[in-house]
Symmetry: C2
Subunit: 349 residues, 2 copies
């Protein structure tokens, strides 16, 4: 028995590139807009003396703000250090069966990583040829289901009716709907948590709330599921959300007008980008997210990715089966998207 | 197979009371002093526009600041969302054996909770009658060792020589030294990470850096151990440390003068409190921490705890074997300690 035998060795997960400096960053689905002015005020008004104390354990202010956005009760909200932590703790708590957890073969790449970390059996269910989800694929014996909706990196939305179909079928296992991108064109299934006790809906402040830097995510579910999740979380880390991030997220939740303005602008810029890409011969999947997934029949996605990088424009390329002909492009400001289109026009002409 | 069968059910860990309002809070070992003025400046100077982006993944600025405090390399530092998260991930990574992990019967109450969460076998080794640690108790077959030094809630310090003895013996298992309170009277064993590849030293910004509200902890160890820990962490949550907390912690690390001033004042207030408690007939264990552990031969600790609470003075009482006659009292400002002593004098006279 050597030292190494006592240590858990896992393959490190490698996050996307974080280029610094004067670049156009369309590779990690961040918002191109600054946080709400109310968030800035909340941070500047922090009682810094109070930072000597532990943060609020109950997070009442932030939960109240979320309750202004969704018709949920305080004990139906679970908060975490980014939606990645929320999802990781959900996997640990809710996927506790010997049966395989089901999720699409093409989806958020962290799902299989969490399964490996916690020793959860899983099965990657192939998307259809057109990258859509077939709801009946998830209606069979399983240890849980997790679906990103809209899906990533495709951007394709599954209808609320199809989500409900899957939730209704799986009454004995937990169905997690990861709605990180729902505010850019989808409709949240949060109201269904009052109808189904096996549904968990996960949201984030990193995308539509322009606050990836403060690391706040949350989930909504019935109070019984939430109690089990809180118990696991409190056996891991009692104080996951620092004082400043709690205040910033509460201010962001309260500024509904700014939220609407930012998400509307992303939708408009997405429509512009898709139509311009059409003109250049790209095929783009129908997106309900703040990114698009595009391919060009005549040019290699990898070559375009490298070319754009040389022009200081960063998009995301996945060297993986089925999607290696595609680029995932985050929707930025109008000016950023025009620069992208001009660069692509130059490349393709 | 019902829904409940698929869900992991754990006993919720219950953190200490967090009373609000105008109380003297000597129950959670927070600092009575505000953060350094440099921390306040760092927070007020945050580029709030940049909060739309993910935080730094590599945390170079904060690691550089820590390297000004300790002679360690960048790849020997592991950062986390409070030292609780750091410890939890260390347990998950380093205690991966079928043999029992060893720690004292009286120590930080989260250790057995993490073992239960991750299914790690453990054995609680009784402290000696005087609440000190016998180093030879940890020199036998084990799956790892974790020792809080100074220990909590006793405040008693194990000498660096005894720590090294334990680390040297256990060359095939990881020894974690949790130095959350070391800055109030102990000597860190961080230099030993260059001599032993099985040593992990955990620190926090919540105590001597006056920043419990920002949730930053860190650990130092050889780069090989750190690589294994980083891989597990990156399989859990890539971005655990938000942008504001990184900047605040870096500023706190850099302000060495303020750190020295605050820790010196705590030591002076501790000496005053111990001598006053002596005068009132209390017996206090020798403390190297920012709290003391005291008992009175003639009065029930639980009764004193309740009495102080009625006077809006919160201390910590543990209704547990061996220590139910003791109170753990955090060292506050001079004025707070005088008020405490006056209240106790009133009770005892």
């Amino acid at each position: 028995m050597s030292l190494r035998d006592n240590i858990r060795i896992v393959e490190p997960y490698v996050p996307g590139e974080q280029p610094q400096g004067d670049v156009i960053k369309l590779n990690t689905n961040e918002s191109p807009f600054p946080p709400s002015p109310e968030v800035v005020k909340a941070i500047m008004n922090i009682d810094t003396d109070n930072l000597r104390k532990y943060p609020s354990f109950v997070c009442t202010e932030l939960k109240n703000a979320i309750m202004q956005n969704y018709d949920v009760a305080e004990d139906e909200i679970f908060l975490g250090n980014g939606s990645d932590e929320v999802l990781a703790l959900c996997f640990m708590t809710f996927f506790n069966s010997d049966k395989a957890v089901l999720f699409p073969d093409i989806t958020y790449s962290f799902y299989p990583v969490w399964c490996s970390l916690y020793g959860i059996p899983y099965e990657q269910v192939p998307l259809k040829e057109d990258f859509t989800i077939s709801k009946t694929d998830y209606c069979r014996s399983n240890g849980g289901v997790v679906i990103a909706n809209p899906n990533a990196p495709t951007g394709i939305l599954l209808s609320s009716e199809d989500v409900e179909y899957i939730v209704r079928y799986n009454k004995d296992s937990v169905v997690i709907i990861d709605e990180a991108y729902v505010d850019f064109g989808g409709e949240s299934v949060v109201p269904l948590i009052h109808k189904y006790n096996n549904l968990v809906v996960v949201h984030t402040y990193s995308k539509s709330r322009n606050l990836a830097g403060i690391r706040v995510g949350y989930a909504m579910m019935c109070s019984e599921l939430n109690a089990a999740l809180e118990a696991v979380k409190n056996s891991f880390n009692s104080y996951t959300l620092n004082t400043v991030s709690q205040a910033a997220a509460a201010a962001a939740a309260a500024d509904k007008a700014y939220f609407k303005k930012c998400t509307s602008e992303i939708k408009a810029n997405r429509a512009y980008t898709v139509s311009e890409l059409d003109r250049l011969g790209f095929k783009t999947l129908p997106s309900a997210a703040n990114f698009i997934f595009s391919t060009h029949p005549a040019y290699s996605a990898k070559d375009i990715f490298e070319y754009l990088k040389s022009k200081n424009i960063y998009v995301r390329y996945f060297n993986k089966p089925r999607i290696s002909d595609y680029l995932r492009i985050t929707i930025g400001t109008g000016a950023e998207m025009s620069t992208l289109i001009a660069a692509l026009e130059e490349y393709i002409k």
